[in-house]
Each structure stands twice: as structure tokens, then as C-alpha cells.
Symmetry: C2
Subunit: 372 residues, 2 copies
């Protein structure tokens, strides 16, 4: 339990961080984002660099000014996307020719082609910090190598050491030129170092010790969402738990299922980002949750595209009081999804995020009552 | 200038009627529909019959209960879609085989295949009224044949006469079984007869006289939007102007450009439906309007997909105070449209409908001042 105080507001933790990849929380207006009780959202540096570009975002007063999202925002460093593109087999079209997405990986950083228009973009620790400075999110991440889960110990160690070197460069870079904000010299961006180390316990522990020793504003755990099983992911988090700082926010990158959150807050995780509630919503997967007296009871998902909902005039979720559930039936959402009507995506997104809000409230309440 | 009092509220006229085809105003929540000042919207009987079906809509308490649109609604009879499908060359897939959409046109009505799943659907005057009764819109239309603009005089006359016969059957059908509502016997659906006659002055006048003589609750002019030029359309409206009732609402089907509205209110038209503001919005065409002291000055459209807006940090419309224009820049909308982000369609729709609201306010004010 805690609070992260940012320039754009306080975040009560543990908190769920929905993903507004390109500076829009997927079909919701900023007004609706507030309505559903979102208190912090996540934007992706890689995506914003490739479109619309960080220059225009900076000119607009940062991502808050550009998107009018009025909640605290967290940006990633680009590391995850850069490396997931590298391990994938995707290509970029460059003047009609197929070119590999990642041009060069070195100790210095990564050069790759934009999936959007094929232009060459460079990510180094310094560049990532510069991009994130221009984006201007409240909570920012050091540039890291997000390790493929198949990497052997030799590569994993080398990669971890590179990530550590990059962290030092990120800290230097952020200290030199951006801890002085234009708002009364108030520090308004907080840097998270990222723990890596792949699936190897000794490397995870070594990485945790190193990252925590660097005294960044926050600590994140990276690369656990790319593992093969949930058990591996949880194990990797458990290994580093004892090293996590108690007086600083800890973020777990890319993990945010309800059961993961319930199990992982005990390891000292404060914030979780995950695309699931919004991505599943756009596919018609509607969360159903039961909470009694603030205690979480049951979590289910229904696929509103199923014919059984065609004539179902019950509210979308019997146990929910959000705008969607106060007004609309399963049959109406079924109709909207079957007809690919845009309103369907908005309503499902709205509801799923509302469920996440209620779920996190219940988690915080359970912690208050010492029930977790 | 006038008012149409319906069970779901009053409509100040002249009014613009945006099109909520399938019972959703295209990307806007009912709450947003209210916010943008929509006072009446249009739903399509044909589309609702094919999906989700009128039975479920009736069970949900009619289209208002199903969609939670809280404004007065107008439904068409299916005539326009049925005949535009007949003249088109589209086919329906039936168990993988292509079948013609329209199976049979007769004096009795039309049998056709649903574009959605190929099932055979029947529209007769009685069926159309029955469907519209179940849908439960406030303002409903008689079943008519929407004439192809290429029809010769012989066919046009025959078609008009059929439409007149169908009107009588619609009146009979509506009188017999649905003027008694379940709400304290209050009449809650108002039937419009439809003037047809194609491009022939004598037929248009004959049709106007006949339809008006039938003493329906309202009168609509149909088939003018399918003409070849704007001039033809306006001429067809002008021919019937002298016959239009002054004490009943007059609707012009499928016409609603700003210049049309400005020119046609003088002919006695009270309401105009048109898909344009919402359809264009989803393509990125943003209305720009200038109104000074309630007087309409200038109407323009911009295509937000153009590269010139990439770095444009001006508000979407300099002369607008809607939620979108108070918050977002052209560059942000450009970004959303280029990235196919759902929020773009919502914001553009919201703005264009707000512009229509302001435009209609200025039209009504000009009439009050005797300037039109």
C-alpha cells in the first residue's frame, strides 16, 4: 500500500495501469477515462517515436497536452518493442522493398526501421531518455534489452550486463539535462531502472541488487511477461522480491491479469501494466466480477459474440454499476459487436476498465485488512 | 418554425436528423448524443429487421429501451433500402451460393434476402407497419416504392399509384392495431405518408395532393435524394411545396447538406435526415463553420488525413466550442486517423454533429428574424 505522487496527480497503489499505446486509451475520450476511474495509464515510446514523432508531442506540451489525458502517465523506453521486433520475423517496407526491421544491435543501442513508414530510427539509452523527456510522461523507464526467453545463460548474462551499462547511461543522461523542469525547477519525471536476467535465478538476483543500488526513483521488473508459463513468470518475480525497495515504487512490466495481481502484490509490486482489459474488450470479451463487501470473490470472462447472448436482456454484468451496465443489455452489445458498430468497442472498453478499477479497490482494501 | 411534440421529447423545427442506422449513433454513447445537442435521430427499419430482428427490440421495450437513445426517433419503412438493393447488383450469400437480393416485387410488397445472413424477409405495407410498431420509434413512415431516377413516365405513374395504395394499407394497418398504445391509450407513434412521383412534375403534384388528402400525422417527400443533380432534387421539392400542410410536420428523406437545408426550409420542410455528418466524420472529414451573431456565414470541410495537419497545433475548428475543439488539435486528430485509432472516429463524429446543431440553431434564428 502506498501512494506515488506525480505532477499530474497521486496514484494509490497497488494500481493497475491500462495501456494507451499511442496516446489514446483505445476508444475512450479523456473524459470517459476519468469516469471509469483510471488513475494512471501507460504509453509506448517506440510507437510515439514512429508516429506522430516526439517533436510534435513536445510542441503540444508533452503527451498530456497532446492527448489531453489528465492522469499520471508512464512511458516505456522502447526496449520491449525494439527487441520483440528483432526476435520476430517481421519486415518493414522501404520503397516497396522488404528490409529487416532491426538494422543493428550493438553495445551502443539499436537501429531499426519504423513499421509505419520504414524510416530508420535509433534507440540508445540517451536517445530513449531524450524521447521520453519530449513525451513528458510522469514515470519513465530506463532503456533495457528485453531478453528472449529462449536465451542461454551466456547470452542472458551479457545482455543483463548491457542493460546495467545502459541504466548507468540513462541515469547520467537524465541527471545532466532533464531533472531541471520548466515548472519551477520541480522534478517532474521519475526514472525507473529495470531488472532483467531472463530465466536464471542468479542473474535475476544480481540484476535486482545492481538496479536497486543505482538509487533510481523507481524500480521495474522487465522481461517476465515473455516467459513460457505463468509459473515461470511468478518465480522470476519471487526471486527478486527480497531486494525490492520498500520506499520506492515497483512496477511489473506487461503483467496484469487479476490472478497475477492477487498473487504478486505480496512480492512488493505496486503497479502493473497490461493491454488485456482493453484489447479483449475490442474483441468482445467482457469481464464479469463479483466483489462482496470489498472482498474479491469471482472473476469470469464472457464472449459477447456468442449466439446465446442474442436475446439476453440482462445487463452486461449483473454485479456492476458502471454506465454500461446501468444502461445496456447483453443483447445490445451482441448486436453492436455482430454489426461491427464502433460503440460496441467503446462500451466494452469502458466496462472492462471499470471492473479493473473495482478489482484494484478490493485488492487495496484487502491489504488494509491484512487479508492478502 | 414549429415544434413536434413526441412521447420522447419536443423537436424544434427546422431540425436536422442524424442517422443512427442500426440503433447506435455511430461511435457515440447516448450520453454523448445528448451532449452534442441531438434532438431527434433516424433508424432504419430494414437494417433493424435483418439484425438484431424486431422481436428482441420489442422485448427490450422498443428501440429506445434497446439502444438507450433518449431522444425522439424516426424510423423509415424499409422501402428505400429494399428498392436501392433491387436496383443495385448486390447479391446475398445463401449457404455459399449467390442469390439475388430481391426475390419478388409485387403489388403486395417485396420479398428479399437479408444481406446479413441470406434469410428471406418480407416487406409489405402491413409488415412494415408491424415492424415499425415493434421498433417503436416516435415518427414512422409509410411503406413506399423509392423510384429509380431513370424510370420512365409509365413506370413512374404505376409506381406512384402503388405507393398510394400502400399508403392506404399502412393507414388502415396502423389505425386498426396500433394507435392504442400501452401508455394510457396515448397515441405515441405518428405516421408519415410519403410523396413520390419521380422526376415528373405532374406526378409529384398528384402524389402530393393524394398524400396530403389522406390526413396522416406527417408528410414526407421521398425519392428526391436519388436524383442525378442537386437542381433536380430542389426542383422536385419546389413542385410540391404549395401542397404541403402547414399544420403538420414535413420531412425530406435523405437530404441534409447545409446548403440544401438553407434553400429548402423556405419550401416548408421541417426535418431533414442525412448520413453525411457522421459518415464523413468517420472518413476524417471535419466540418468547419462560421456563425456570427447566430447568422450563418461560411461552411467548409477539411480532410484531417492530409499531411498539412501533421504539425498543426490549432484547435480542430477555430470557431467551435465543443468538447473536441476545446481540447484537441488538428495534429492529434491527424495522428488518430493515420493510426486508425477508434477515438478519432468518435471525436470527428462528435464535432460534426455539434456543428450541425449550431447550424440548425442559426437557421431557426434566421427564420425568427425573417432573414430566410
Amino acid at each position: 500500500m502506498g501512494k506515488i505522487a506525480t505532477f499530474h496527480g497521486e496514484i494509490e497503489t497497488p494500481a493497475f495501469v491500462p495501456v494507451a499505446t499511442k496516446g489514446t486509451l483505445k476508444s475512450l475520450t479523456p473524459k470517459q477515462v476519468k469516469e471509469v476511474g483510471v488513475k494512471v495509464a501507460f504509453v509506448n515510446c517506440y510507437h510515439l517515436v514512429t508516429h506522430p514523432g516526439v517533436e510534435i508531442i513536445e510542441k503540444a506540451g508533452g503527451i498530456h497536452g497532446f492527448s489531453k489525458l489528465e492522469v499520471p502517465l508512464m512511458s516505456d523506453s522502447g526496449g520491449f518493442q525494439v527487441f520483440s521486433l528483432a526476435t520476430g520475423k517481421r519486415k518493414a517496407k522501404v520503397f516497396g522493398e522488404e528490409e529487416p526491421l532491426v538494422e543493428k544491435i550493438s553495445e551502443d543501442g539499436v537501429k531499426f526501421r519504423s513499421t509505419y513508414d520504414g524510416t530508420l530510427v535509433e534507440f540508445t539509452p540517451e536517445k530513449s531518455i531524450e524521447y521520453q523527456k519530449k513525451i513528458g510522461a510522469d514515470l519513465i523507464m530506463a532503456f533495457d534489452e528485453c531478453l528472449d526467453c529462449g536465451a542461454d545463460h551466456v547470452y542472458a548474462k551479457k545482455s543483463m550486463e548491457r542493460t546495467h551499462e545502459w541504466l548507468k547511461r540513462c541515469i547520467r543522461s537524465s541527471t545532466i539535462d532533464f531533472r531541471i523542469s520548466n515548472i519551477k525547477n520541480q522534478k517532474f519525471q521519475f526514472l525507473y531502472g529495470i531488472i532483467q536476467g531472463g530465466k536464471y535465478e542468479n542473474l535475476r538476483k544480481e540484476s535486482a541488487k545492481f538496479v536497486v543500488s543505482q538509487n533510481t526513483d523507481g524500480v521495474a521488473i522487465g522481461g517476465v511477461s515473455v516467459g513460457e508459463t505463468k509459473e515461470e513468470m511468478r518465480q522470476q518475480v519471487s526471486w527478486v522480491s527480497e531486494y525490492l525497495p520498500e520506499d520506492k515504487p515497483v512496477h511489473l512490466l506487461g503483467v496484469g491479469h487479476a490472478d497475477d495481481i492477487l498473487d504478486l502484490v505480496g512480492y512488493g509490486i505496486d503497479t502493473f501494466d497490461c493491454v488485456e482489459p482493453t484489447r479483449l474488450a475490442r474483441m468482445g470479451t467482457i469481464y464479469q466480477i463479483q466483489i462482496s463487501n470489498f472482498k474479491f470473490q469471482r472473476w469470469e470472462k464472457i464472449d459477447i459474440n456468442k449466439t446465446i447472448y442474442k436475446d439476453n436482456l440482462e445487463r452486461v454484468d449483473e454485479n456492476c454499476e458502471c454506465y454500461v451496465c446501468q444502461n445496456f443489455t447483453k443483447a445490445y452489445l451482441y448486436h453492436l459487436f455482430k454489426q461491427k458498430e464502433l460503440l460496441g468497442y467503446t462500451l466494452a472498453t469502458y466496462h472492462n476498465l471499470w471492473v479493473m478499477k473495482r478489482f484494484m479497490e478490493s485488492v487495496r482494501e484487502s491489504i488494509r485488512r491484512n487479508e492478502i
